[in-house]
Amino acid sequence: MKKYWKSLEEHQEIKNKGTLDKKAEPEFSIDGLSQEEVKGKASRRDFLKMLGFTIGYASLASSCEMPVRKAIPFLNKPEEVTPGEANYYASTYFDGKDYCSVLVKVREGRPIKIEGNTLSPITQGGTSARVQASVLNLYDTTRLQNPFENANESDWDSIDGKIKKQLQEISSANGKIVLLSSSIISPTTKKLIGEFQDKYPATEWITYDAISASAMLEANEQSFGKAVIPDYKFQNANVIVSFNADFLGTWLSPIEYAKAYARKRNLEDSKEMSKHYQVESYMSLTGSNADNRYKIRPSQEQEVLMALYNELAAATGVQTYELIASPVDVEPIAKDLLKNKGKTLVVCGSNSLKSQLIVNSINHLLGNYGQTIDMNNPLQTIQGMDKRMYDLVDRMNRGEIAGLITYNTNPAYTYPEADKFVQGLQKVSLKISLADIEDETARHMQFICPDNNYLESWNDAEPKPGHYSLGQPTIQKLFNTRQAQESLMKWAGIEGDYYLYMKDHWESDIFPKQDQYSTFEKFWVQSLHDGVFALRQDEAAQPKFNKPDLKPDNQPKGNGIELLLYETVAMGEGRNANNPWLQELPDPISKVTWDNYANVSPKYAEENDLKNEDLISIQKDLILPVLIQPGHDDHTVSIPLGYGRTSGGRVADGIGKNVFGFIRNIAGNMAYSGNNIEIKATGEKYPLALTQSHHTMEGRPIVRETTLKHWQQDPDSGNELHDKVEKQHVSLYNTPSFPNFHWGLAINLNSCIGCGACEIACQAENNVAVIGKEEVRKRRIMHWIRIDRYYSEDSDNPEVFHQPVMCQQCDNAPCENVCPVAATPHSNEGLNMMAYNRCIGTRYCMNNCPYRVRRFNWFEYANNAKFPYNMDNGLGKMVLNPDVTVRSRGVVEKCSFCSQRIQDKKLKAKKEGRMVKDGDIKVACEQACPTEAIVFGNLNDKKSRVSKAFANPRNYHLLEELHTLPSVGYLTKVRNKKSIDAEVKHESGKHE
């Protein structure tokens, strides 16, 4: 039988003995306990101590008076607000890189949850972990509460006066003013910047993206005469080949791509799925989902690309180039691509002009332009040209810049030569930051004019031409901050507020372009309500392709150990480092929280005698712990970006190391790789908080898989065990029956990409506590839904499986009958309930749960200064969902199938006098999922989507042989690869 494993230790066990008889790790960590305590022996003294404490505590409690609670009604209640009922407002999330159209859930004037906006043609209701977590940034205590001048609190009037005066002085002295920003996609802001430039003609606007795609912009300029990022249509691609592009996790527009990718692969309506090849150096989220994956060094990318180009060119009769030996056999890839001409997609994530030009040529050879790639509808979310930024820093150092305004960018942290940037700053006379916290850059600025959070601001966006998106404030400003645009308006001498300015712009510029609405008011109100508005677009011919010269240049070949820097799903370029939810989100692949680390391959580690958590020095100054990553290239070390903030806030500071400094300037583009890296073991250890081996399942058939070919012949393939177990379900007890509702959840393992959006959505919806690195290390993470990641096969290049696991809501729940106080009984709707007020914390249920989904509150996580994340202060607690109890110390908690949502929608149906429709109730994880992998519904309704999924031959349950009868079903993973070990098909039915 094929073996699946979660950690290398487990893999070693399998290799050595062929069985997994290693005992599961103790359920709870014994770090820091004395020997006696470990044995569980209490002395007489301890007993007396406990007795005294109990009596004292009880008498204290009984002498407490009930607190006086106030009810403070509105003075003048707005018509649309009903206390106790949520309102949803459409808005737009854009952080300078990721765009998402969202709905903001507002309760009693507080935004508490972000949902995807299904009306958006781009993100289509999908979200990502970052989008889900963004609501917490609003309630961040690190946010500046007033404008600052030279590190002293000031007020807007005096600051505005001084800034205006200085701007005028610079302008009249013919000095240079630079507005440095991340990519801006707001059409109104662009217009405003234009007007600002009219007022101060010496102003130059420079866009700088810390994680840049400038090589792609340049390549498209050369190939098509348009410096744009094209629109990729993964939904039209039968074959996808990706070179170092993590398009499901972080690359360009991951929510959009994930949605399109999963639709082509869910095998729900179609019998066909796309085929995905991934060629990469580190194990990315996208690579983990690929059907076939190849490891290369970062420097070998162009060789493989050229080999592929030659193969294709030879087949289509186009000129080929001198061949360099490719480390990857590209023939099968080329065959698949040629078979599907016009229905393929080749993408490359490196910021290298040459690579991008080759990729353009390949796509051109394959006729993909106009089919899977649209040059006329470009993605506008990344616009920065690295050359201009390099140039700016040089000019600053030469003293050519008199004024600098930074907006939504933090070069003192993200710029490769941050010191040089800071030095250059000394020579700038007027320095203004529009950051909302005192970040690394703002610290060096004369004026900090704090921007609002996006949930407090009016804004618009145009992620693609003709696709407009509106953002509206959902809460009154919390602090004395001011929207960045309004600051620019003030300084440019434009009267009024930004809202009216934006409305005017929409009336004069956007309204005339459309023909759906007769009056502007109708158009405006509808667009604001929907959050998005898309102009009808005519098909246009793709621009002409200019064939580049692909002659290999004599680039020095990479040798030695190479370095690769990459962006993680949670942290991005470090903008979200102060968000505790994201810090505690286990990385989809490494399952590490609260740190960055150096990924190396198992082979490299073995050769150099490195173990997990060993500290190594990289290029002497940087010291990082090692993480042995299966599937990693053997000659590469890769490090996540976005950590090591020094002025990011109380959560962010001091976590991990900053590696932006390793970015190299290659022909004016930022290269996120390096070679000849010197690595030395320091002999020391550094603890990492991994969640991967917390809840081991001991090699039982947890993930089930098959190949497309087998599945097409036999839909039961890979899931033969299910029928066998179903036949064996015999019980002494009555079969549980739920005649009214029977809630169930189906998860399509083919759709799930493991991105983690559901984990954060669940955390926001259910007030799940953040507990910090130390507690995570003690295996106490509180997430109600986790994504298990399994490897199979060989540790050199394993297959990866992502499997979300939450409470399985077993009909025969093992946890229920061991509870001595009946705190976790079964409901008549098939739910395994958890009554916190009844729980006395014996944790028997946790021990008896085979799925390890129950969580224990070891401490009071709210109102506790020892957990300084978000629940220890009034501001952070504003994000809590008032419909869900905040659990206190000593009780067990777990997934409730979002009971509050079930009850809410049932009540709504009652009020409207109708039955509950399928799809009415959406649980938080389901709603957040960008790939529609999770479906919730009533199993009694045979027409519901969840019933259909349960009837699918692919459906199985976790540990179904235990007869727990879970209400959660999984659809087997189907991979579109040529062959799978024959034994899988034959032997997966056998259980050891």
């Binding site: 403070i72 009604p73 409730s896």
Partner: protein, 410 residues
């Protein structure tokens, strides 16, 4: 507690006889009134909103007495005045302008009613003007039965029962166990001491009996007090404004829902905004009992933009989710079932102990009001079949899972 049980049981019993009563009432209604009666009942419900400013035969309030208004004005005039009186005044309609001036220039709110709704209000007014009584309107027939099925004497009984209950609760709350507790402890200690050391009482069984009796008393009191921990039965805090429900509800007959208007839509019944108070207190500037001082606090709040901080009387622990809408809108439970005769209280007092046992008992004994009428309950096919076959006679809240933990705790 026992009293309240029996009361609820009576209500439950009524549910059983619902069907027969329903038929009876319908017959009665059909014979006495016909279509206008239906209309008038809808009108009565809608008129609750008007009743804040108008009476029918009860004299002037904020606005004129509407008795005989159908005769005084023509229909079209009434329609447009109800929909938008300000527009008429601005257009210079002589009657409208005169009325506006006569009633202190207090503008009447505009109501976006349909023709049918206005007709029903006017029908109700004319019926009332002629001195006819109009049945309560209710969207659900069951409530109708419950309300109208209640005879006058039953109503009086209910009131007396509630008052008794109130008195009893007060008594219970005031009972102080503390002397009994300490005396028992003292006796207990003395007896044990005597039994073991001094041996003053020769007959040991006396000591033993004393120990047993005092022991039982101590345990009993401890248990009682422990159970009562955190409960606020009888809680009646001072409020920032001396607001009397008695004056507003009993004397001025303002419906509960006029102020607590989100009760049918939301989990919260809703405290009225200060602007809502102003609907009447724009004109009523002086109270009969407190003069101008208390009402002035509303003006003060609005002028200084300082919200009124009421003290919440009925509190539930944080781990309980309670929805008013579920109980009042769907369950058709009268406010008084939990809150008692608030209309008789000058200062609101918590009468029920709001304990879990109290909730659960009610769920056990109360029938699902809309089980037959609300389409939602079609989900409960099995119960419907059992009801049809006569296997069960009624469906209680518990039967549909109302006592499952996770219906209130999540």
């Amino acid at each position: 507690m026992d009293d309240s049980h029996s009361k609820i049981r009576i209500l439950g019993f009524k549910g059983v006889t619902k069907l027969s009563l329903l038929l009876f009432i319908n017959l009665m209604l059909l014979s006495s009134f016909n279509l206008p009666a239906q209309n008038a009942r809808q009108g009565k419900k809608l008129f609750q909103e008007c009743a804040a400013c108008h009476t029918i035969g009860g004299g002037r309030l904020v606005g004129p007495d509407l008795k005989g208004v159908n005769e005084r004005r023509d229909k079209e005039w009434l329609y447009s005045f109800i929909r938008n009186s300000q527009a008429m005044i601005q257009a210079g309609d002589p009657i409208a302008v005169e009325l506006f001036n006569e009633y202190n220039k207090v503008p009447m709110a505009s109501y976006d009613y349909t023709d049918e709704q206005i007709e029903s209000i006017l029908t109700y007014i004319s019926a009332k003007s002629e001195g006819k009584e109009v049945e309560d309107a209710a969207p659900e027939t069951s409530k109708e039965t419950e309300e109208s099925g209640e005879t006058v004497s039953e109503k009086a009984d209910k009131e007396i029962a509630l008052q008794e209950e109130m008195a009893k609760h007060e008594l219970e709350r005031d009972r102080n166990y503390s002397p009994a507790f300490w005396i028992s402890i003292l006796l207990l200690v003395l007896s044990i001491f005597d039994l073991a050391v001094t041996k003053f009482i020769k007959a040991k069984f006396v000591n033993v009996i004393v120990i047993i009796i005092t022991g039982v008393i101590v345990v009993e009191i401890t248990v009682r007090e422990a159970i009562a921990l955190g409960r606020q039965e009888g809680y009646s805090p001072e409020q920032p404004i001396w607001f009397s429900h008695k004056v507003h509800v009993q004397q001025n007959k303002i419906d509960c829902r006029y102020c607590h208007h989100t009760v049918d839509d939301s989990k919260h019944a809703g405290f009225p905004s200060a602007q809502l108070c102003m609907n009447c207190h724009n004109v009523v500037k002086e109270g009969s009992r407190t003069g101008k001082t208390e009402i002035a606090k509303i003006y003060d709040a609005i002028e200084n933009n300082k919200p009124i901080e009421w003290v919440k009387v009925h509190n539930l622990p944080d781990h309980v989710y309670f929805s008013h809408a579920q109980h009042t809108n769907i369950g058709q439970i009268d406010c008084a079932v939990c809150h008692g005769p608030v209309e008789e209280m000058d200062k609101v007092k918590q009468l029920s102990d709001l304990s879990m046992g109290w909730c659960v008992n009610c769920h056990r004994e109360t029938n699902v009001t809309q089980f037959e009428t609300n389409t939602f309950y079609k989900h409960y096919t099995e119960l419907h079949e059992k009801l049809k076959s006569g296997e069960i006679k009624e469906v209680t809240v518990q039967d549909i899972g109302g006592n499952d933990c996770q219906k209130c705790h999540y």
